[in-house]
């Protein structure tokens, strides 16, 4: 699978987005603001996660008309979300020609047992993960990019940090395993042994792992990049802030120059208030988006 030609172009596009910022947008006007600010891609959706969280109800794939409008408005890649396990939504998104599909826990899951068989699609998929087993399961289903789940719509970075650190720690652990330990380790984390072996031999995942779920400031972006994220998704953080265009530009700069703290400082100067954000412990357990998917 990892050497398949389709897979090369899928992971290839993910590689092209590295070091960049992918921004959630809900209309063509926001998409233009994101592109003008230097976004490498936009995620087209009807409601940003913070609104999905506050308004409740079933969250589904966006209206194709909205996605088309955004595709026409910008020249950068356009991504869109489908529900976990909802392969028919994914088929619709593929027919629209979106560049990347996010099988996302932000939307209400459609299947409580199975994720989508992503190898059947020509369009690449990104999926969320909280630990290495989940990451490798998604890759074995065909995901060409991973991202931390974090806690979408919270404006709170703590869960994304937890998930990025956990995956990184587990990758390091795998590189220290003896060959005889791999099968049992794979069984315990519920992932194919071939992918565990790949991680042992290469010291990294075969696809990039981006940060998502709670990024609201330039310093948040720098933090996630320093923890090993290869790029950054910003969902509610931009268009729930008081100055979307300036904040978008600032996060783009901080992601590129994440080790140059003068630039991160300068990018943060003069920004108005970030989104208010939520304390994770105040979110009822059954409303945590990160618990969706397995």
């Amino acid at each position: 699978m990892l050497t398949d030609k389709d897979y090369t172009t899928k992971v290839g596009l993910a590689r092209m987005l590295e070091g960049g910022v992918i921004m959630d947008v809900t209309n063509a006007e926001q998409a233009k603001i994101a592109e003008d600010a230097g976004a490498v891609a936009v995620m087209a959706l009807e409601r940003i996660p913070a609104d999905i969280r506050s308004q409740g109800g079933v969250a589904r794939m966006s209206n194709p008309l909205l996605i088309r409008g955004i595709q026409e408005a910008v020249s950068i890649p356009v991504m869109a979300k489908c529900r976990i396990g909802h392969f028919a939504e994914a088929q619709v998104l593929e027919s629209l020609g979106v560049d990347f599909i996010d099988e996302s826990e932000v939307l209400t899951p459609a299947d409580e047992t199975y994720h989508i068989d992503k190898l059947k699609f020509k369009i690449p998929f990104v999926c969320g993960c909280r630990e290495i087993g989940e990451a490798l399961r998604r890759i074995s289903e065909g995901a060409a990019m991973l991202r931390t789940k974090g806690e979408a719509g919270s404006g709170n970075i703590v869960e994304a940090v937890r998930h990025m650190r956990k995956v990184q720690q587990e990758i390091k652990k795998i590189t220290t395993l003896g060959d005889e330990e791999l099968v049992t380790y794979a069984k315990n984390i519920g992932a194919p042994v071939e992918l565990v072996r790949y991680v042992k031999e290469n010291g990294k995942l075969p696809v990039p792992n981006f940060a998502a779920g709670g990024i609201a400031t330039p310093a948040d972006a720098s933090l996630m990049m320093q923890l090993g994220a290869e790029a950054v998704f910003v969902g509610s953080g931009i268009f729930k802030s008081e100055d979307p265009a300036e904040r978008a530009r600032a996060i783009v700069l901080a992601t590129t120059h994440y080790l140059d703290f003068d630039i991160v400082a300068k990018a943060s100067e003069g920004l108005k208030d970030a989104m208010k954000g939520l304390e994770i412990s105040e979110i009822p357990e059954d409303q945590l988006l990160q618990k969706r998917g397995w």
Binding site: K5, T8, T9, G12, L13, R15, M16, L17, E18, G19, G20, E35, A37, G38, A39, V40, A41, S75, I76, P77, E94, G97, V98, D99, F100, K122, I123, P124, V252, L253, T256, H257, D260
Partner: protein, 191 residues
């Protein structure tokens, strides 16, 4: 000899890895100062709109043409757009290092991305290599002093001028080091 890789955004990591594999010291270039240590520069694939903004913000948009007066530059995919003189279909302001025109996203969206074997003419010797095209541009015009190294179905995909190399595909995504070795040889000639 050191070769810089523009590391603002995009697939710069795999170019750095490839340079290491062929025994060349690569430098991640995020600021104009980093160019002082380099004798060549690779501009990787990524998003050209993003790259232009980031280059302008940090002063590399002016520094790279200045660097190229002396040292070779190699642009792949989005990098090929940036080294061009003219972008046909999108308001991207290129660096203008080479007299070529390009069409951005010329083959369509991601669903139209593909991998194909192509023939490249390196130093007069035709060789087959695997080429990865991702939302790739197309070179629509070449000016004087620009030589064609490869075509695919009539489309220009790999061209060279005195101090610039441009490929619409991604040599860093395949295992074959030939294209990078060719650029390194070009850099060596200017030392």
């Amino acid at each position: 000899m050191k070769i810089g890789v523009l590391a603002l955004q995009g697939d710069f990591q795999r170019h750095l890895t490839r340079l290491g594999e062929i025994g060349v010291k690569g430098i991640a270039v995020r600021k104009p100062e980093a160019l002082k240590d380099c004798q060549g520069l690779i501009i990787p694939g990524g998003e050209s709109t993003t790259l232009v903004k980031l280059m302008k913000n940090i002063g590399l948009f002016e520094a790279i043409p200045e660097f190229n007066r002396r040292w070779p530059v190699f642009g792949t995919c989005a990098g090929a757009i940036l080294v061009s003189r003219e972008v046909n279909n999108h308001p991207v302001e290129p660096l203008g290092l080479m007299d070529i025109a390009v069409q951005r996203n010329a083959y369509g969206r991601q669903i139209d991305s593909f991998v194909e074997d192509v023939t490249v003419n390196l130093a007069g010797a035709p060789q087959r290599i695997e080429a990865v095209f991702i939302r790739a541009p197309r070179i629509t015009r070449i000016g004087e002093g620009v030589e064609v190294l490869s075509r695919r179905n009539g489309d220009l995909i790999f061209v060279e001028s005195e101090r610039v190399l441009a490929a619409t595909f991604h040599p860093e995504l395949t295992a074959n080091p030939l294209v990078h070795q060719y650029f390194v040889a070009k850099v060596r000639k200017t030392l």
